[in-house]
Structure formats: C-alpha cells, structure tokens
C-alpha cells in the first residue's frame, strides 16, 4: 500500500495557500523522494503554482511555470511525486474533470477540500480513469 508522507511544514504550506486562495482553487506541485520498494512518497519541497483559470471550479497550471518547476526538480535531483489542488466548496474526491485531466499516471493527486470547517486532505493515484485512494501521513519533524 502506497503512502504519501508530508512534512508538517509542507502540509501547513499547502493548507495556508489553499485557504488564502479560497474561493478560488489553489494548485501546486510536490517534489520529494520516492522509495519505490516501500511504496513511500516523501515530500521535501512544495511549489505553489498559479491557477491560470482563477476559478472556484477549475484549475490549470501555467505551462512556463510548470517547465521551470520540472527543471528545478531535475537540478535538485528531486522526484516529482504529486500534483495538488484545492476544492473550496466540494469534497476531496476527484471529479470527472480531475480524472479526465490526470495526465501524470505515476503522480499522486492530492485534493484539499475546504468545504467543511476542518480541511480534508486526500490522495489518489488515478490510472485508467480509476482513482485509488492512498494513505497520507503527516510527519512532524523532531
């Protein structure tokens, strides 16, 4: 069973960014280290991206910004592990549109729902149009 392991500060950074952009959808990319044998995906860096749609219902990252992030990941020898976006007014499950646009088969799609008072983080692999939820662990640094 795969697991997304978020550093506490990364979790906070994603949450704060999502709240800051509410009611518009926030989006970004998480880079880190993949331990394939253990099925563990550790976050080490969060890239906060611009939502070119600037919409409460859609997100689309800016391609140039996306190219820069992938270049930066390569330069820092980081693995690309996850794409995140917020659902300001709906549950943390992938919509049909999210599924249709899940072009990175190897990536974890992290959705942050802000619908309820308390945030809800959920992570999925989306392959062949089937989202499969995986566990999330928030790692507190000591």
């Amino acid at each position: 069973m795969s697991k997304l392991i978020l550093k506490k500060e990364d979790y906070q950074k994603i949450l704060e960014y999502s709240l800051q952009y509410k009611p518009v959808e926030a989006c970004g990319i998480i880079a880190g280290i993949i331990n394939e044998d253990a099925g563990k995906y550790f976050s080490t860096k969060v890239y906060l991206m611009e939502n070119t749609k600037n919409s409460p219902e859609h997100y689309l990252m800016e391609p140039e910004e996306q190219f820069d992030v992938f270049k930066n990941m390569r330069e820092n020898e980081l693995d690309f592990i996850s794409v995140f976006h917020s659902h300001p007014n709906s549950p943390a499950r992938p919509s049909q549109e999210d599924i249709d646009m899940a072009n990175y088969k190897e990536a974890i799609y992290l959705i942050i729902s802000l619908q309820q008072e308390r945030e809800d983080f959920r992570a999925y692999f989306i392959q062949d149009e089937h989202p499969q939820e995986i566990e999330i662990e928030v790692e507190i640094e000591v």
Binding site: E57, H58, M61, K71, S95, M101, N103, Y104
Partner: protein
C-alpha cells in the same frame, strides 16, 4: 542512423529524421495533453509534425496539469447541452442538478411528470415512494405507467421508465406507505421533497416531517379542474399548516377518486413542481415561498395568493404543539384536544 538528444534532462538516442510528433509517439506520449519545448522555445501543437529533431537538441515536455469540480462526462455534457448553454444555469448549475437528491412522494398524477422531468434534467439521485399498484383508472393522468403495467407496483413501473429516460439517474424506490415511523428515515437522505400524495393524512405528516428536518418541500394538489402549488422552506416562509391549520374533516373535501380530475392538470402542476425543484437546486429565480399559485384550467388562468407564516402554527409557530410526528387522527383538533386534556 541514430542521433543523441536530451529529453527532460536525460540523454537519449533516437532514430534520425524524426519530427516531434513522431518522437512523442516513440515515447508513447499523447500529444493532445502535452506541451513541448524545443531548445527552450515552446512548439505549438499544430507544428509538432513540421519540426524535425536534430542531434544535440534539448527537448522538454510537460502534460497539462488541471482539473475542476465538474463531474459531468462528455456524454452528459452533450445530453444536457441545452441546459448548459443557459446563461443562468451553465455547467455549474448542471453539476448542482447532478449532485442533488430529490424525493418524489407518490408515483401518481403529480409524481409522474415531476419525476420524469427531474430524471430528464439529470437529478443525480431520485427517490420514489409509493405503495400502490398501477390501476387502469390511473392511466388517464399517471404518465409514468402504461396499460401493460396494470397490477404492477407503481415504483417498479416508474423506475423502469425513469431509467430508460436517463440511465445516469440513480433511482431509489420505496414500496411503502409513508407513516410516522418510516418518514424521517426516508426523507433524511434527500435535499428536496416533492409532494405528490393523494390524501390529507400523508400531506400533513410530510409537511410536519419536512419542517422538523428542515427539508425543502414542493407542495401541490390537484382536483377536478384546478391545482395549487407552493414551496415550503422551513424557517423562511409558511408551512402547509400555517396556511391550512388543520386537515379537513373526513369527507369535507372529495378526493380525485370521488370528484374526478382532468388528467392534463396533473401534467401542468407536476411540471411546475419539477421546475420549482430545479430552481431550488440551482438557486435560479425566486422560489414560490410565501406564495401559493392557484391554477384554474376552465379559465386557463393562474392566480397568486400571498400566504404568511403563522406564529400560532402547530408545527412551526412560536410555541409548537407538534414536536414529534403523529398520524392524521391524532393531529386533528390539537388545540381542542389539549383543552380537553
């Protein structure tokens, strides 16, 4: 002959004389969702087949990263396209319709057109409650059922027609008579309730249950050549008991069975109920709260009557005496019963 290039930071050896479209095919990448950069310059999708890869080229590609809240499939977008192009409704409204859960109580005269239009509109979850079987006398107005359905449970016949109309709708059926014991649990799963019942005990019980649970109720009735309709929004406007404090004495108002009804009136009023439900789901327009629409088919006229919330209402007033569901017999003349007690 092969050449060396860099693809997303990795050196690769590829066949000579490939264009970018062919290179993407070799890499098993879908060009429709891909943005390509050749030596730091983005290449428009339409030019991929015209740009040939040369030795030492640096190629980067990314996939579109995006999404949205819409759960509509391409087929659904096509099916509901006449809704989606409505400026006030759009994809957002259609998504709300898909997410909605509506319960139609009674698969009869009013329930037939209401459920048909709600299913056609794409209401995601449509509940149907009815304990009756289809009777030949129903067919003059209950368009969910056909002659062949005579004798079948109405909910089975209705489900078949609604699923044929729109397979995207999750039709849930309750082949039961609504009473104080099953009412709360059935309505709990729904956002909006459509009243298509044919008797006063259930009408009052449904009103009370919706008020207590805070559920929207689109209330309607038909008889002979007339019909009436109002929307009950608990806390915001009057409930059925605010308007008609107590059920009429048994026999005071004849039923459709006794007095008859022009079949097409069920179509008019049931369709208005469906319209009102779709307005409530999407937030479009002004709901029929605090107003009762009265339809006179002989004159073919509509009249709007203002109806007010009553502070003395037994169920939603300042000092309600109905605090738990009770059946019709008990709910009659409550004040009198209390005085006697």
């Amino acid at each position: 002959m092969s050449i060396k290039i860099t693809v997303n930071g990795e050196e690769k050896e590829i066949k000579k004389d490939l264009n970018l479209a062919e290179l993407l095919a070799e890499l098993e990448v879908d060009p429709e969702v891909t943005i390509v950069k050749l030596n730091e310059a983005m290449v428009p999708q339409g030019e991929l087949a015209e740009r040939y890869v040369e030795s030492g080229d640096n190629i980067e590609y990314i996939f579109f990263m995006g999404g949205g809240v819409f759960d509509l499939t391409e087929k659904e977008i096509e099916r509901y396209s006449r809704h989606i192009i409505l400026k006030d409704l759009g994809g957002t409204g259609q998504q709300k319709i898909k997410d909605a859960k509506v319960l139609v109580v009674g698969a009869g005269g009013l329930g037939s057109p209401a459920a048909f239009y709600l299913a056609a509109a794409g209401v995601g979850t449509l509940g149907l409650v009815d304990s009756d079987h289809v009777d030949l006398t129903n067919l003059q107005r209950q368009i969910l059922h056909t002659t062949e359905d005579t004798g079948r449970p109405k909910v089975d016949s209705a489900r078949e027609k609604l699923e044929a109309m729109n397979p995207n709708v999750d039709v849930k059926t309750y082949n039961q008579y609504l009473n104080k014991d099953n009412m709360e649990s059935i309505i709990a799963d729904y956002d909006i309730i459509v009243d298509g019942v044919d008797n006063f005990p259930t009408r009052y019980l449904l009103n009370d249950a919706c008020v207590m649970a805070g559920k929207l109720l689109v209330e309607a009735g038909i008889l002979q050549f007339s019909g009436q309709l109002t929307t009950i929004m608990p806390g915001e406007g009057p409930c059925y008991r605010c308007i008609f404090a107590e059920p009429p004495k048994e026999g005071a108002i004849p039923s459709c069975q006794e007095a008859g009804v022009l079949g097409a009136i069920a179509g008019t009023i049931g369709t208005l109920q469906a319209t009102e439900v779709l307005k409530l789901i999407t937030g479009i327009g002004r709901p029929l709260v605090g107003r009762m629409l009265v339809y006179d088919a002989k004159d073919l006229s509509f009249r709007e009557v203002e109806v007010k919330k009553s502070d003395n209402c037994d169920v939603c007033g300042e000092d309600p005496v109905i605090t738990e569901l009770m059946e019709y017999e008990l709910s009659c003349n409550l004040h009198q019963q209390q005085a006697e007690a």
